[in-house]
Structures are given as C-alpha cells and as structure tokens.
Amino acid sequence: MKHVMGVINLSEKDGCYDLQELTRQRCIASIPFGGRYRIIDFVLSNMVNSGINNVGIFTLNKYRSLLDHLGSGKVWDLHRKKDGLFILPPMEPCAAEGPRGDMGYLYEHIDYLRNSSQKTVVYAGGNMIFNTDFREAVSFHREMQADITVLYKDMGMGGEDLSRYKKVALDDDARVVAMEAEPGQMKCSRIFMDIIIVGKPLLLDLITDCFKGEGRRMCSLVNDGIVPNLSSLKIFGFPHRGYLAAIDSLSCYYRHSMGLLQPEVSRELFFNPGFIYTKSNDEPPARYGEDALVQNSLVANGCHIEGEVQNSILFRGVRVHRGATVKDSIVMQKCLIEEGASLDTVILDKEACISRGRELKGSRENPMVVGKRAKM
C-alpha cells in the first residue's frame, strides 16, 4: 500500500449536520465517541491499519480541538519526515473569492496532492464510524481496472430511515449505474459511505476540470465529479460488510453510542479487522468503590465510581460520587457527578459538573445535552 495515500475531507457538509451543542466548539470529526475515541480516529486508524503512510486532512472550521487531538500524529505512527500526517486548512478562508465546496478545498492544496508520490487515493469524509481494511477495496479497484470505486453499505430495508443518505445502484457486475446527487430520491438500501478510491491522475483532472470555467466556485466531488461521469468512467461499487454509523444528528449520535453496549457490536467496531488508535491520556485503571454498581456500561480509564451506573458510557476520568445515579447517558471526559445527582438519558459534554442532588432527564429522541464545562 505504499502507492496509496489517504485524504480525509472534513469540508463538505459540516453545515448540514445537526449535532447542536456538541459541535459548538468542534467539527464533527472531533466529537468524542465510544468512551475514549473521537470520530476521526476510526477512518484514520483504518487508513493506517491498511498500510497507508500519507494522510492529508482537509479541514474547514473549528478544527482547533482536532489539531490538539491529532498532535504530531505519533499515535498513528504518522509523525514522519517523509509522508505522514498533513493538515490542510483553507488558504484564505475569509477571502470573498476563491474555490469552495469539497473539490474547492482540494483545489487550493492541489500541490500537496500532486507532490505526493502515491498513485492511488483513498478519499473519505469525516463523519463515518467503521472498521475496515482498505486493502480489499483497493485490490478490487485494481482488479476491476476501475476509474473510481465507491464504497457503499447495504443497510437492509425496514430499519433506519435512510432518506438522509446518498444512495447508489449497481448492476450485476458491481458497476454503479445510478447515484444520488441529492439524497431522498432513490428507493434503495445501499448508501454511499462518503469514501471513494480513485487514481490520482484522474482525481487531479476532475478537480482542475471543475474550476476551468469562469466564475465556478462551488464544486462537489460526488455531484460534479462522479454523478455526471457514471457512463463515461468505469465506476464500481464495493460493499462494506461490517458495522457502520454515520453521525449526522444528535439522536443518531445517541442511538449509535448506545448501540455499543452490545458487546458483539463494540468488539467488531474496536477490534475487527484492526485496532482503533486514539490519543492516550495516561489515565490509571478505573477505580470502583465499595458501593459501586455498574451494569451494562462502558467505562473508560481514570473513572472513579462510587455510585450507580446503568446502560451508560463513561469517558475517561469521570467521577461518580456515592448515591449518584447515571442511567442511559453519555458522560464525557472529566465530568463530575456529585452525591445524589441523577442523570437519565443525558449527554454531558467534557468537564461538565452536576451538583449534589440535581436531577436531569432527556428522551431517546431528544437526549438532553449539557455543554462543555457547564455547571448545573
């Protein structure tokens, strides 16, 4: 895989998603998930586990916490001299002119793409949670001599509402015959995972073609690069068979988080086929007190629990005092739940503090969110 590079583009649709309070100070890719990870850890670890050594992350907004999280890239063994991790923010974000759209941000840093030595690109968005080895898809791409391979997931019918996802239709040879430019039109259970595999020369052509005309500013890879070329290019679909969570709303964030309390789900997501890496916070093992009662919950290191925790996810360094109860909730890093406080279907952002005796309650469709560092 030394001929494959990774591109993670966080710029496309950040605006359309609705993560409310959780994205007030961070981009979606930087939202904590699963007790110790951030959403970007999944796609980034997948790339690294697939043997990709050069990853460019195209950022747009609110990526300070992301930079902090990624650090020098050492956690992913990407603190390299040659290749490694590249952060590519917009050149002049406030200029009135200049290319925009996901292709626009690529266009601004086209030199990075051009100068990279790799010949194939795994291109991904930043809000999908999954665990895969891209080597399979890349082999498929090569065997089929595809121009573009799009990764999709068959969600099955009758489950989740799929109207928000872009769907793809394939013929029997796995060739993509239709793909939605706007979601909600096709009736089909195969959703586009926001991931494609493409030869670099073609990608460069698609990008530059897009901005050839006068006054073109806004270009989308899917809508301007793929959908119009379904017949002129050899575009194939490759299925992802494992777990997939696409985070685009608060209720879906909550639902997918709670899904991790099924051990077979979290085992698959965290271990198969590869490990998910994240910044280590050097917390000690979790400590359970005399009266602790913790059941059906994920608990990260550094937690100190003396109260009761049911069906919940506790991030690192959470303190639950005696007599406090946490139920059906997500409690992020370093939150403090004081004596006798009670949480039911609540999402606490980092370092929130719930005072003695306080009771908070949300609903599954509309979990209550307490902002970062809030004191209630």
């Binding site: 007790g35 110790r36 280590s280 000690p284 979790a286 400590r287 005399e290 602790a292 059941q295 608990v299």
Partner: protein
C-alpha cells in the same frame, strides 16, 4: 551536535529478581506488571519525566527483550527526543574485548563515555526495581543548596526490616556519617532508597579509582559510598516521605497491589500532577455486563466483566465470565476466566485461560490462623475446567 545537559539519569534495570519466581523467568524485575496497567520501571521513568530530567540511560543486561519492547524509543514517557531521551545501554565490546556489568558502580563505569556526551554537572543514579513517586528536581535543589558531593535519598523503615537495606547514620543538617550495607544489627532505621545524586566530575574519579581496586565488588553501597565517606567527601541524606516499595517477593508484590485498593491509598495513581506513564494497549473502554459487579477494584481498559470482581486488580483485556467471582487477586493482561470460576488470593499470568468452574487459590479465607499463601498461575497457561488449584506453601 549533542546538547549539554545539567543532569543525566542512569537507571539500573539489570535486576534478576530471583525471589519473584516464575514471574521473572522471562522478565527482568523492572518489567514486572503492577497496578493494573504499569510495569515497575514506569514509576522511575515517569519520575524522571515529571522531574524534568529528559536524558535517561537504562542499563540492562538480563532478559532485556520485554523491557526493550516496553521502553521502545520512549514515546509514553515523552523521552523520544532528538537530544537526550531514553537510551538502552547493554554491555558492549571495545578493543581488547567486552565485559558484562559487574556491580552497580561498574555498570556506570562502563558507560562513562555515554554520560560524557552530555557533559553533565550532576548524575542521578536510580534503580528500576522500586515503586515510588519522587521529584528528583527537589532532590537536586537540596543537593545544590548543601553544596553536597553525593546525596542519598533515605526513608525510615520499620526496625525489623532495616537489616535488608543500606543503613545511614546522619549528623548535622543531614550530613552522612556512616553507611553500612545490610548490617546484621542496624544502628538506625534510616535506609538508602538506592537513589543517588552525584556531582559527576567527582563521581567519575571515584568510579575510576574503584575500578582499579581489584578487591572491590564495584558496588555503590558496598564500595563507592564507603570510600567517599572514608575520604571525607561531603555526603548528605535527603529525607523522603511517602510511599516507597522494593517489591522483592511474591508476597510483597501482592500486598502492594492490595494496598492500592484501600479507601485512601498511600500511592495515589489518580494524581493528575504526577502521572505515571506507560505503554497504552489501545483497548476500548471496559464493559460491565448486566449482572456484573465490581467493587473495591482497579480495572483496566479492554476488560469484559460478566461476573463479580471484588478487591482485585485486572490488567487490560481480562475477561471474567458469568457466575465467576474474582476476589483479592491480581489478573494479568488478557487472561480469560471462564464461567462459574472462583479465584481468590491469586495472581494469574498474562494470556492464561482458566476453564469453567475452576477454583483457584485459597478458598478457606477468614478461618483465622496463619494467613493464606498466594497462588501464582504462570502466564500462557491453559487450565482445563473443573480443576482446583492452590499454591504450594513456599
């Protein structure tokens, strides 16, 4: 183009730890797991980092593979540096042949060239065998303030244990008057912690002198410190208060582990101002199933608990099946305890699999009399179901 360093640390990690039995068959003593997440050497390495000492030579010669893999290039301790950082130092050959390290002083002597690269004023000599948290920069300030030439950190131990250690007699302002290595009848209970701060140019001369002495065992406690005292050098004792443990036996390893589980443990692992760093296994958070119970315990990431865990320490990736009870025990990484198993007062080795309905360890606790022995199950064992395993009294 190596930068000068004010203080370089040399960490002696050669210990064989014979009294730790099967635990040290493939490990040097500093590599022994402790506290649910750490190896013993993590404490001294973290002390260095937290004290601002960024150049550490680790002297290994016995079974260094696990230790070398653990330390790697020093990433967890932020010791992966361009200048300084951690260096693993094994014995090497020069023109005229190679030598193994003899005593502790000889190990430093053989690495004089390594130390000289950094041209330090001070040399800190520590041992990777001990569990404690100490700010070596405070020790250095103390050393400087007193214009000391060698400063030895000391701690008071119970009188009955004193004869296992180097005993110091101390005079005005902490000046050391006498030093005796493991005397049968100790005159004081102030013992050396094996933490030495030296003026490097002075120590260097004494190391050379000691090396020329054919009768010397080339040991700091037995030879070099007594010689410096004899010659009237300014040696001071630095009084240390707090937790300090030389985990020399299975019993003391188990006891120190249990010490972590009391309400207010003397050794606080939760102190964010003095973190203990270690290699992260990169496991997901631990999962406690419906019906699980964990009390008075330390549990590391990646564990999956269906049964009950009480007063125990679980390293990463441990599985405890439904209906099993783990009590007063230490379970090392990735061990798998089947269903309906009872484990009590035991240490279970890494990757060991315990079959369903086994009973491991003393199951007669609380019946009074002599305290029960600790049952030790070797790593990578495969114990079939329905077995009863107890320790043989040592």
């Amino acid at each position: 183009m190596i930068q000068r360093k004010e203080c370089v640390a040399m960490l002696l990690a050669g210990g064989e730890g014979r009294r730790l039995g099967i635990l040290t068959k493939k490990l040097a003593k500093p590599a022994i797991p402790f506290g649910g997440k750490y190896r013993i050497i993590d404490f001294t390495l973290s002390n260095c980092t937290n004290s601002g000492i960024d150049t550490v030579g680790v002297l290994t010669q016995y079974q260094p593979l696990v230790l070398n893999a653990h330390i790697g290039i020093g990433i967890p301790w932020d010791l992966d540096r361009k200048n300084g950082g951690v260096s693993l130092l094994s014995p090497f050959a020069e023109k005229g042949g190679g030598r193994w390290y003899k005593g502790t002083a000889n190990a430093i002597y053989q690495n004089i060239c390594f130390i000289e690269q950094y041209d330090p004023e001070y040399l800190l000599v520590i041992s990777g065998d001990h569990i404690y948290k100490m700010d070596y920069s405070a020790l250095l300030s103390y050393h400087k303030e007193r214009n000391s030439e060698a400063t030895i950190a000391v701690i008071q131990v119970p009188w009955e244990e004193a004869s296992r250690f180097g005993i110091l007699s101390v005079g005005f302002e902490g000046k050391i008057i006498q030093f005796e290595e493991k005397p049968p009848k100790p005159k004081s209970n102030l013992v050396s912690m094996g933490v030495y701060m030296f003026n490097w140019p002075i120590l260097r001369e004494y190391l050379k002198k000691d090396e020329r002495d054919k009768g010397s065992s080339n040991d700091f406690g037995k030879d070099v410190i007594p010689m410096m005292l004899r010659e009237g050098r300014r040696l001071f004792a630095y009084p240390f208060q707090g937790y300090w443990k030389d985990v020399g036996t299975i019993e003391s390893l188990w006891q120190s582990s249990m010490d972590l589980l009391v309400e207010e443990p003397e050794l606080n692992l939760f102190d964010r101002e003095w973190r203990i760093y270690s290699v992260s296994p990169n496991h997901p958070p631990q999962y406690l199933a419906p019906g699980a119970r964990a009390r008075r315990s330390l549990i590391n990431e990646g564990c999956v608990i269906y049964g009950e865990v009480e007063n125990s320490i679980l390293f990463h990736g441990v599985y405890v099946g439904p209906g099993s009870v783990v009590k007063d025990s230490v379970i090392l990484a990735n061990a798998k305890i089947g269903e309906g198993v009872q484990v009590e007062k035991a240490i279970i080795g890494e990757e060991t699999v315990v079959g369903d309905n086994c009973r491991i360890g003393f199951d007669n606790g609380g019946s009074g009399g002599k305290p029960a022995d600790i049952t030790l199950v070797e790593e990578h064992s495969l114990i079939p179901g329905n077995m009863i395993i107890r320790s043989i009294s040592r």
